[in-house]
Amino acid sequence: MSGVRVLVGTRKGGFVLSSDGKRGRWDVKGPFFAGWEIYHMKGSPADPDRLYASQSSSWFGQIIQRSDDGGMTWHQPGTPPGQPMTTPEGFPKGESNKFVYDTSPETGKPLTTHQWYDGTPHPWEFKRVWHLEPSLNDPDTVYAGVEDAALFRTTDGGRTWHELAGLRGHGTGEKWAPGAGGLCLHTILLDPSNSGRMYTAISSAGAFRTDDGGKSWKPITKGLHSLYIPDPTAEIGHCVHRIAMHPSRPNVLFMQKHWDVMRSDDAGGNWHEVSGNLPTDFGFVIDVHAHEPETIYVVPIKSDSEHFPPDGKLRVYRSRTGGNEWEPLTKGLPQSDCYVNVLRDAMAVDSLDPCGVYFGTTGGQVYASANGGDGWAPIVRDLPAVLSVEVQTLP
């Protein structure tokens, strides 16, 4: 029988939840890296037992961890346990946490400063990895979205990382400015039908696409309208919270931004609003049903200063029409006195039939629906605040 593995990153460690295909009983393992913030954990589509985790700390910086056995054991790439920690030449191997911005002139300018909150130039400073996106076909290749916003890639299983500097250097980089949560690159989408095409989203710079494997990039923000920036339709400055794509129809994108749920039918070339009858079009997560590319999910949050569900009722909203018409999903979710948030990387789906939908809250619950959202139950609760949820469907 097939199974499901749910990878949960929290403020104080990582957890691996697993179940069989019925998704009724769950085994909880963890915390891994207890006490450290685990911004994101994700498995390789090419090798489901190869997992990567982003471990960080305000004190001690960023660590990349890797598991080769489905999350049972972990090590920093380059320093596997029991192996020599230096190369035959005597050089230390531990470089898994070395993210150094590219400043070489041939990769484009400006690469040295972005805008600070007051509009002045500010040096790029690496802080942490927000999102890890393993390649669709090579377990040793992984993309990392980092703060301050930049895109890195490893091709040796996480041991060394190098920036794809064309993103920062394509021309608008010096105009990027952080939102309240920092200048983070949080979304990386790989087009399964076009190996050269990739999308990224940055808070609060906007969204970008490459068609040549990351060498050159262009903003994809036509149609976005943000009243909180001086020019509401500017190319740069939109606070995109999340973008989602269905693998069978990669030209159609769905976006949850800082106000507005948006849709593009031409690979980000143009966007139009599909917020429709949502009680609030503010939120962080958005995801697509595994088998129905017109079925999408969001979790509306009251406002940009009160990051909790309207009226204290935790509701996932589902559209079966690709937006505009939305229905509240409430069965099994708290409908009073609930003031949690669901952060941008904290929703995922499995590919079983019926599709499973999962999300984690800042209150430490991970809710799951084994029937496409019709009914929900917490599969674990009282964890530290959940930062990310990813799901693997296992054979």
Binding site: W59, F60, I63, M85, P92, K93, K98, V100
Partner: protein, 98 residues
Amino acid sequence: MIRVVLPAQLRKLARVDGEVVLEVRGEVTQRAVLDALEARYPMLRGTIRDHVTQRRRAFVRYFACGQDLSHDAADTRLPDAVAGGAEPFMIVGAIAGG
């Protein structure tokens, strides 16, 4: 023989319990001790000092023999008691909630 006390987070990262014992050749300075520490435990590279600038991370402090050595130059000689192994060189994370 140099004794180094790591904060709990870094002990976990380096997979060690208790104090770390290092051999440091030549003059015993902050830089020499940290170089030896990172050579022995490469997973700690970047966690105490910045990879590129080699500057101490803002929330990390160095103590020994009851003194705060955090603001000493990296090549300043450490106290004899540390160089002789009588007292440990302590790497401490700033105290904060959360």
